[in-house]
C-alpha cells in the first residue's frame, strides 16, 4: 500500500484522462481542472490518442468491449506516456477504468478478450497493476490536501452553503474500489467525504445532505427522461431542504443531468428549484482567486454568476 507521503509526491504529475464529456458539454470541468492544476503547480499530461471509456452505453452492447476500451486508454498511458498514475475527473471514466482493472485481475475470460483485441488493434495489452487510476478528488486530496488548501484559500468560500453530490459511479459497486472503506483517511462507499473535506478546507459550509450517492438517472437522461426528471427533482429538493445554495459536483454527466432536468422539471411538471450546480474544481478555483471565466462558470447550464458575485467570490 502506497503511504501518504508517497502519494503526495506521486500524484503531482499524472496522466490526464479527460474523456469525451469534458471535451463537450462538461467543458467547464475540464477548464477548471486544468486551471487549478496550473495554479497549484501540478502537472497534467493528456493520455496520447485516448478513446472513449465506453461510458454507460457500450457495456449494454457487450461489457467486454467496454473493458477493452478502458484497457486501451490505460495501455496508452503506460506504454506511450510512461505513466503509472491516470487521473480521471469524470465519474464514468474513473469507474470504467477501475472496473477494467478489477476484471483484468479477476476474470480470465476478460483478460483473454482484451489480449486478443489489443493484439489485433496493434498496441500493447494493458496488464492489471501497471497503472493506478485515481479520481480528481484523490488527486487534490493527496497532493495539496486540506492543510494546503486552508493556507492557500484563506477560507474564501465562507458563507457558501454546499450540498456535496457524488452520484453512483464514484462509490458502486464496492469491489472495484479496493482502496475505499479502509478506515481513517480512506474514502467511504456509503458516506463519501473527500469533496466535503476539500471544500470545507476552503471555507465552505457543507450542509447535511442525505442524497449524496442517490442516482440522478444519468444513464437514461434522454432515453427515459421522465424517470430522470423524477430522480433529479428528488435530489434538487433535498438539497434545497438541507439549506444548500450550491450543489458541488464531481462528474460531468451528473452535473449536466441535474442542470438539464432542473429546467425540464420546471417546464414539464411546474416544479421550480433554484439551487445552482458547480464543479468542485470551479469552487476551489474561485477560492484560489482564479477568475470565473477562466473556470468556465459561464458555460454551466445553471447560471451561478449572480450567486458568486453575491458571495464575493468574483
Amino acid at each position: 500500500m502506497v503511504d501518504v507521503t508517497d502519494k503526495a509526491q506521486k500524484y503531482r504529475s499524472v496522466a490526464y484522462y479527460s474523456g469525451c464529456a469534458l471535451e463537450g458539454s462538461g467543458n467547464g470541468y475540464d477548464v477548471s481542472t486544468r486551471a487549478i492544476a496550473k495554479e497549484l503547480g501540478l502537472a497534467l499530461k493528456d493520455v496520447t490518442n485516448w478513446n472513449c471509456c465506453g461510458a454507460m452505453e457500450v457495456k449494454n452492447i457487450d461489457p467486454k468491449i467496454q473493458t477493452y476500451l478502458s484497457s486501451r486508454v490505460l495501455s496508452n498511458a503506460v506504454h506511450l506516456d510512461g505513466a503509472d498514475v491516470v487521473m480521471a475527473p469524470c465519474n464514468g471514466c474513473y469507474h470504467n477504468l477501475k472496473k477494467a482493472e478489477y476484471e483484468l485481475t479477476h476474470d480470465p475470460k476478460a483478460k483473454e478478450v482484451v489480449d486478443k483485441l489489443s493484439t489485433k488493434a496493434g498496441h500493447e495489452t494493458y496488464q492489471a497493476g501497471q497503472a493506478e487510476t485515481i479520481h480528481a478528488l484523490d488527486w487534490i486530496k493527496a497532493t495539496i490536501g486540506e492543510e494546503g488548501l486552508r493556507q492557500r484559500t484563506k477560507g474564501r468560500l465562507a458563507g457558501l452553503k454546499v450540498a456535496n453530490y457524488y452520484g453512483c459511479m464514484y462509490v458502486r459497486p464496492r469491489h472495484i474500489f479496493p482502496e475505499k472503506d479502509k478506515g481513517a483517511g480512506s474514502e467511504s462507499t456509503s458516506k463519501p467525504h473527500f469533496m466535503d473535506d476539500l471544500l470545507a478546507a476552503a471555507g465552505a459550509e457543507n450542509v447535511d445532505f442525505p442524497l449524496k450517492t442517490a442516482c440522478c438517472g444519468g444513464a437514461h437522461t434522454l432515453s427515459d427522461a421522465d424517470t430522470s426528471t423524477k430522480l433529479v427533482l428528488n435530489i434538487l429538493q433535498a438539497a434545497e431542504a438541507s439549506g444548500a445554495e450550491v450543489i458541488a459536483t464531481e462528474c460531468p454527466t451528473c452535473h449536466t443531468g441535474l442542470e438539464m432536468h432542473q429546467v425540464r422539471a420546471e417546464k414539464r411538471f411546474g416544479k421550480k428549484t433554484t439551487v445552482k450546480m458547480m464543479y468542485f474544481t470551479q469552487l476551489l478555483g474561485l477560492a484560489l482567486g482564479i477568475g470565473p471565466r477562466k473556470l468556465g462558470i459561464h458555460t454551466n447550464i445553471s447560471d451561478s454568476r449572480d450567486l458568486i458575485i453575491q458571495k464575493q467570490l468574483a
Binding site: 490518442n49 478513446n51 461489457p63 459497486p173 430522480l231
Partner: protein, 258 residues
C-alpha cells in the same frame, strides 16, 4: 424497509363477493376471499441458459433469493412492479409467461449498481437486467427500447471513431426516436447558454459538427471490435436456436419409458 416480493397469484384470480352463500355457508366479504387455481405448464426450461448467453447475465445461477437487490433498487423505489429478485426467480424456474407480464419495464434499469454493490452472491443483478432486456428484443417480445436505441447510436460513434460528440448523440437519438428537435426544455437550455457564450464558442461548436472528435490510429481497433461483435452474435444465435443442452440426460426411469 420491507423486501418486496411479488406474488405468483394473479390479481384477476382473486375473488371476493359482498354477498355470497354456498350450500348454506355464508362466504360474504373479504375474509372469505377465494383464489381461483391455475395450472402452469408452459415452462421454458432453457430460459436461464438463454439469459446467461446475453452479455452481463452469466452469473444469474448464483442467486439465492435474499432480496437485497430489490430492496436497494432505485427504480423499485419509484415503480413497485420493477422487481429484480422476482424476475431472477422467474428466469431460474423457467416461468417465461410470468416474466413477459413485465416486459415493458425491464429496460428501465438505470445501472445505479445499488444491487451489484449489495448482492452477497456476486450475481450482478444489473447485468441480468440488461441481458434480459436484450433477450426480450432478440426473441421479438418487446420492441427496441429507447435506451437500446441510445446505446446503439452512442456505441456506433465510439466504434467508428473512438470518441463521441455530445450534440451528435443528442441529435441522432431524437431523430431515431422520431422526437422533435425543438422541445421546450431543450430550447430553453440551448437559448440560456447561447445568450451567455462568446461568439467563438458558437464557432467551436459549429466546427465540432464537421470535424468530429476522433482517436488517431483507431482503424485497427475498430476492425477488432467489429469482428468480436460478429463472433459473439453467432455464438448467441446458436444458444437461442438450440434445444436441450447436449449433456442433459433423462432420468433412467423416464429413459426406459421412452
Amino acid at each position: 424497509m420491507p423486501i418486496h416480493e411479488k406474488s405468483l397469484i394473479r390479481p384477476e384470480n382473486i375473488k371476493t363477493h359482498d354477498k355470497l352463500v354456498i350450500e348454506g355457508v355464508d362466504v360474504s366479504g373479504h375474509w372469505s376471499t377465494f383464489i381461483e387455481p391455475r395450472v402452469v405448464t408452459d415452462y421454458n426450461e432453457q430460459l436461464e441458459d438463454e439469459i446467461s448467453a446475453f452479455p452481463g447475465g452469466d452469473k444469474i445461477h448464483r442467486c439465492f433469493q435474499c432480496g437485497s437487490c430489490t430492496n436497494a433498487c432505485t427504480i423499485n423505489a419509484i415503480e413497485p412492479r420493477f422487481n429484480p429478485r422476482y424476475w431472477i426467480y422467474l428466469i431460474r424456474t423457467g416461468m417465461e409467461q410470468e416474466l413477459l407480464r413485465d416486459k415493458d419495464i425491464i429496460w428501465q434499469c438505470i445501472s445505479c449498481h445499488k444491487c451489484t454493490h449489495i448482492c452477497p452472491r456476486d450475481v450482478e443483478p444489473e447485468g441480468v437486467m440488461k441481458a434480459t432486456a436484450l433477450w426480450l428484443e432478440a426473441k421479438g417480445h418487446a420492441p427496441k427500447s429507447p435506451s437500446h436505441i441510445f446505446d446503439d447510436e452512442f456505441s456506433r460513434q465510439v466504434i467508428e471513431r473512438g470518441k463521441i460528440e455530445d450534440t451528435e448523440v443528442l441529435h441522432k437519438f431524437l431523430v431515431k426516436t422520431k422526437q422533435p428537435l425543438m422541445q421546450d426544455w431543450l430550447t430553453a437550455i440551448a437559448w440560456g447558454i447561447a445568450k451567455r457564450l462568446p461568439v467563438k464558442w458558437g464557432i467551436k461548436m459549429g466546427f465540432a459538427q464537421i470535424f468530429k472528435p476522433k482517436t488517431r490510429g483507431w482503424a485497427k481497433a475498430r476492425a477488432a471490435i467489429e469482428d468480436y461483435i460478429h463472433e459473439e452474435d453467432d455464438k448467441r444465435k446458436q444458444v437461442l436456436a438450440g434445444g436441450p443442452k447436449q449433456d442433459q440426460k433423462l432420468h433412467p426411469k423416464l429413459e426406459a419409458a421412452e
